[in-house]
């Protein structure tokens, strides 16, 4: 009996450790997929249920499935609010040369703009600006911070 009880305790400890480690890895991969940020920590909302930003992979400006879903919500919102104009700000992380990052931010902002236009939003309502790596939302030097900074943000201008 005594032996049995000890074994139970050991098994319990092993089991708990497994659960804990599973949790911590799940949390990490839950926020970054590939190296695209998928969390909500820095996200603001244009309106209820309409996130203001999308995230990109390193050196990339292609739209992920999640980014397209966000942009479709933005398009719906913009269709309902016809007098509203927006600026899309394109950003890069700090791990690249300044000038290339300016170009990359521009590309990201325009990728978002083009997608909104394919959902019927006039290009005249959308301006773009690139800040390159100049305006990080998270100042840390970590892969998580860099993934949060590789973004384009839709901002209301009126």
């Amino acid at each position: 009996m005594m032996f049995n009880k000890n074994l139970k305790n050991i098994l319990l400890v092993v089991f708990t450790t497994l659960i804990l480690s599973a949790c911590s890895t799940a949390k990490k991969s839950g926020n970054i997929e590939g190296d695209v940020y998928t969390g909500k920590e820095t996200v603001k909302f244009l309106a209820s249920g309409v996130p203001d930003r999308i995230f990109f992979a390193t050196n990339k400006s292609s739209l992920t499935t999640a980014a397209r879903e966000t942009l479709r919500k933005q398009a719906t919102y913009l269709r309902k609010n016809k007098s509203l104009n927006v600026t899309i700000e394109g950003h890069a992380d700090e791990r690249g040369t300044r000038e290339y990052n300016l170009a990359l931010g521009e590309r990201r902002a325009n990728a978002a703009k083009d997608y909104l236009m394919t959902y019927g939003i006039s290009g005249k309502r959308i301006s773009t600006i690139s800040y390159g790596k100049e305006k990080p939302v998270n100042p840390a030097s970590t892969p998580l911070a860099w993934s949060q900074n590789r973004r384009s943000v839709t901002v209301k201008v009126n």
Binding site: T97, R98, Y100, L102, P139, A140
Partner: protein
């Protein structure tokens, strides 16, 4: 600002003694710097006061600047003044060579100065102690407020005599002065002498400014500004303070640099998300498109003969360096090494291209021949980029950033320099954090 356009009256007293023994080889890293004694310049007792200049200390102050310049090259070892064996005025007339040799000096710099009638008269001599001969001597007259430049000009003449290369001391560096938290950075254009003295701020920090670059032929600067939230390339005259937007582009222009004759600006223009390279002639205002590709083409830099442009592009996938003729024809990729390459900058000597390389999360400053062969990585760090050449093509200045903590703490940006030999890495003194340095041409050329 007029004082930068001073007239230097150069009178060469004696040039280039043919039998000189001492010389400095700057093509290798110098592990055995030349011991040199820089005697304080003798101040003539007939000197008059001038606008707050401490005349009595002027000779000492000028020699200190020369020593600091020499030490920073890594090629010279200026000896301690306590060991000096002769008074400045007597040494300037005729050094007791055998006594100076006792303190292990190989070269000796002597000089004297006089301020009279609002003019500063300076003369100096460089002595080869082993050969017991004068190697070079020079006298000139300028306004007394230029006394720091006097020290730099003397340094340049001695460097030139001992190395056979033009100096780079009478020069300035324009850069971006940074302050504030990492995610709320305030950036201003700043300019300083090459040794960190005379810092002046050229913008107030109300808008983001980036990548200032000197015109190689004048006191003009081109840079990028977010004035009125419209990121554009600007042209600034440092002497008059006037500035203007370059060209009439409907979108972001960035990454500007002058052509070697100073008459054109080459830059990137982003249209519908795509960045290509353009030039604008500053006299005729004619804009020419140089590249037309669906990739990012940026960081253009002219060759010193104006015939070619190096740039970086991600047309092959990731950033690599390309060279083309300055009309955009004959585009050729020159980097094939492992890693990502950016910010090519053509040496003023024409023989090398400096660049930033990124590989496995580390950043390198390196040089390669203009066809991409002979790559040499000079320095590795967590983050560094944007090399700019000294006017003689021997030293690179660049900026380096540190890793930040979870709240951005511990972040800094500083200017560093390194010889193209890979030796003599040094941090430049700046009043604030600093980035995006650009080295001027020699001011007194």
């Amino acid at each position: 600002m007029k004082k930068f356009a001073i007239l230097l009256i150069l009178k060469i007293l004696l040039i280039k003694n043919a039998n000189a023994l001492i010389e400095v080889d700057i093509t290798r890293g110098n592990l055995d710097p030349l011991p040199i004694a820089v005697s304080p310049l003798h101040v003539d007792i007939k000197s008059e006061n001038f606008e707050g200049i401490k005349i009595k200390e002027l000779g000492e102050n000028i020699s200190s600047i020369i020593e600091k310049n020499f030490r920073a090259t890594g090629l010279f070892n200026p000896l301690k003044k306590e060991a000096f064996v002769q008074k400045p005025d007597i040494a300037h007339l005729k050094p007791r060579f055998e006594d100076w040799r006792l303190i292990k000096a190989q070269g000796l710099v002597t000089g004297k100065l006089l301020i009279k009638g609002g003019k500063l008269k300076v003369e100096f001599r460089l002595w080869d102690l082993a050969a017991a001969k004068e190697m070079t001597a020079l006298a000139f007259t300028t306004t007394p407020s230029n006394w720091r430049r006097v020290a730099h000009i003397i340094s340049d003449k001695i460097y030139e005599r001992l190395t056979g290369e033009e100096g780079y001391f009478d020069t300035r560096i324009i850069y971006v002065a940074e302050s504030g938290a990492k995610n709320q950075r305030i950036k201003k254009l700043a300019i300083m002498d090459q040794d960190g003295a005379n810092t002046k701020y050229l913008t107030l920090g109300n808008e983001l400014v980036l990548t200032p670059r000197f015109n190689p032929t004048s006191q003009m600067v081109t840079y990028m500004s977010y004035f009125k939230n419209m990121p554009r390339v600007y042209l600034l005259d440092i002497e008059t303070g006037t500035q203007e937007v370059v060209g009439n582009f409907p979108g972001m222009t960035f990454a500007p640099r002058f052509s070697p004759d100073g008459k054109k600006i080459v830059m990137s223009f982003a249209k519908d998300g795509n960045s290509d390279i353009y030039t604008m002639d500053l006299d005729t205002r004619v804009v020419e498109r140089i590249t037309d590709h669906s990739s990012i083409d940026t960081s253009p830099s002219f060759s010193p003969d104006g015939k070619f442009i190096a740039f970086n592009s991600d047309r092959s996938g990731l950033q690599q360096i390309y060279v083309m003729r300055s009309d955009g024809s004959g585009v050729k990729r020159i980097t094939f090494g492992k890693g990502i390459y950016g910010t090519p900058v053509w040496s003023p000597r024409g023989d090398l291209i400096a660049f930033t390389k990124m590989r496995k999360g580390r950043f390198y400053i390196g040089v390669m021949r203009v066809d991409g062969t002979g790559e040499r990585l000079l320095t590795e760090n967590y983050y560094q980029e944007a090399p700019s050449w000294s006017p003689n093509g021997r030293v690179l200045v660049f900026y380096r950033e540190t890793k930040a903590g979870s709240k951005g703490e511990g972040f800094s940006a500083k200017l560093w320099s390194i010889d193209i030999t890979g030796y003599n890495e040094r941090r430049l003194n700046t009043e604030t954090d600093a980035s995006d340095p650009s080295w001027s041409s020699l001011l007194s050329k």
